[in-house]
Amino acid sequence: MKHIVRTLILLLTATTISAQVEIDGFVQSLYSGRTDKSNPTSTEYPASESRLQLRLEDIGDNGEMFARLDFLYDGADSSQYVFELREAYLKFRLGSNLDFKLGRQILTWGTGDLLFINDLFTKDYRSFFIGRDDQYLKAPQDAIRTEYYSPIGSFDFVWTPRFEGNRLPTGERLSYYNPSTGQIVGTGLGEQFLFDPIPPKAAFKNSEIAARFSRQLAGFNSSLYFYHGFYKNPLGARIVDSVPIPLYPRLNAYGFSLRGAVFSGVLWIEGGFFDSRDDRSGDNPLMPNSSIIGLIGFERQVATNLTANIQWQADAILDYDRYKTGQMQTSAFVRDEIRHLLTTRITKLLLDENLNLSSFLFYSPTDEDIYLRLSTSYKYSDEITIAAGGNIFDGNSQATEFGQFQKNDNLWTKATYNF
């Protein structure tokens, strides 16, 4: 706590001295309550927090810097002060074709709307499920990003020395499916259910490389992607004292995407091949098999101030027979060979775009589960926005992607003052 206060004071002093640094940000409170009393978490509040975000920007003649700092009082579970440096990077250009962005930054690419195939940058699903702003779905990475622009296209290259997996429900505020017990668990049932995967050792060979080549092709923005690193979710395991501990298997991914304007709307197509380097033959039941994923989506304005989109994603497990044999050996859940997922987003703006009503639905006809995100936000003034919404999960099985979160349903309210 003292450490954080010291940082804040140093920061404010530094910025008042350096008058050219611009500061803006927001103060926000978020409260989220669960609606299912049987949720085996340690707290009834997936979120109960107050946050101060400060954004600092300095633009020089030869480069610029940007920092985004979050000071958070998190009262949901064990109350604590949290400081997160969400972004802190410098940008500069060499010559006229080479751009650099170095430091802690948020990275996004790919074409899907909340569906990620070639975007293998760190995500924060904990924040996503509890009502935090959309920006918190993306977690920052410390990385070196360079972009080279040439007449044939642009090359985008990201090197992340230290891998960080996606932030997933750990059981304290959000429950999850435990394959060992075959049930939905949380820390409310005991500390042993704290989800704690083993990260790869901090070593040069464990760094991540992500690359993209883009160009315009017949009016479509077209890209090719490559990734070398690890699965961002801990889909693998290692047996330690007869207990499987989750870990992040090694991964190479190759993909493509197309996006362009058609039929008065926007169409996108994306595909990827996931090469599971720790189990190329598909024999190891503790490691994921390689897979192929494809996605197609379309968005258009359907009426005044009403926009809607739909997406269809299909994900196929390769060497499915070996996967099935492996799962049945341990009486674990067996997923369908191809998982289909449909999504739709509907956004309506009212009152001169000050009132925003939005819904996003994920529905898997093969897994038989859904996840519905609802949100209403009202911009009362240039500074003040109030919002409310909910996250609803449901499924026939406790082991599927969304079905496992069926006890995590929550409703939330949020107020923000922007300055």
């Binding site: 927001f26 610029e64 930054q105 926007v266 258009r300 005044t304 926009t307 001169d352």
Partner: protein, 266 residues
């Protein structure tokens, strides 16, 4: 006698011809007006404050920098907008590739999630950032989309103006007719009145302040009033510069993510 007849015939004939000329002149005038208003110079950089006033008189301000590049006079254009205020949208960038005879292409970049999103650009009549200005008001409606006729002339704010009536060739929701007050000398639109199919005036555009900047006549303060909703939006150019030498490459995804600092005043 024959001379008199000839003169009479000539007079009648020229009157007849001028009737035709009236129709042509109207479209020519609207074309000149469109070019004077939307295509001044080859490019432009403007610092803009947009004030939205709701029916209770409550004000909201949006501050942004807008870059424009003409690819063809009266034809394709590119727009780039860098939002500064309010702070929750600051640093957001927005880009339009305008094609008069087709659908525009639009993109938005949201820095907090490093996301470039291409947005569907079907409706040119939808509101620009929630204001009373539509995309069409901001980037222009091609003169060939309406049938124009000169219905008279008058003075407006001590300026001699043509009164031109425009009827859309293809139906527009809520607007049946527009009456434009076009300055006879410089062809700028000083006022435009929009009427619905019942003949009721539903919105008004006004050129509130005109200045000469870089040798080009500019409407530096303009407003649109929505008479049905009783709201008003005032757009004021805090500064504007022409012919800065903007290039096509600025209007690309690269610059959506990396705003061209050279042209953005601090």
């Amino acid at each position: 006698m024959r001379l008199l007849k000839t003169i009479l015939l000539a007079a009648l004939f020229s009157l007849f011809l001028s009737g035709f000329a009236q129709g042509e002149d109207a479209t020519e005038i609207m074309k000149k007006s469109h070019l004077a208003y939307y295509y001044a110079g080859d490019d432009g950089v403007a610092e803009v404050t947009m004030t939205l006033i709701n029916k209770k008189g409550k004000e909201r301000k949006k501050v942004f920098t807008m870059l424009r590049l003409d690819l063809e006079e009266g034809g394709r254009q590119m727009y780039y907008t860098y939002f500064r205020k309010p702070s929750d949208v600051s640093r957001t960038t927005f880009m339009v590739h305008k094609t008069p005879d087709g659908n525009d292409k639009r993109w938005i970049y949201i820095p907090s999630i490093d996301l470039i999103k291409q947005i569907s650009a079907d409706d040119k009549n939808s509101s620009f950032v929630g204001s009373d200005f539509s995309y069409e008001d901001v980037s222009g409606r091609h003169w060939s989309e309406d049938d124009h006729t000169i219905v008279g002339d008058t003075t407006y704010n001590d300026r001699a103006v043509y009164l031109i009536e425009s009827i859309p060739k293809r139906k527009i929701k809520g607007i049946a007719r527009k009456l434009s007050y076009i300055d006879k000398e410089n062809f700028l639109p000083l006022m435009e009145e929009y009427f619905d199919k019942k003949g009721k005036m539903v919105r008004v555009f006004r050129a509130d302040k005109i200045e000469t900047i870089d040798g080009l006549l500019t409407i530096s303060v303009r407003s649109i009033e929505n008479l049905k909703k009783r709201t008003k939006t005032i757009v004021s150019f805090d500064s504007i510069e022409y012919n800065k030498g903007l290039t096509k490459d600025i209007f690309s995804e690269r610059y959506l993510k990396n705003p061209p600092r050279k042209y953005l005043k601090k």
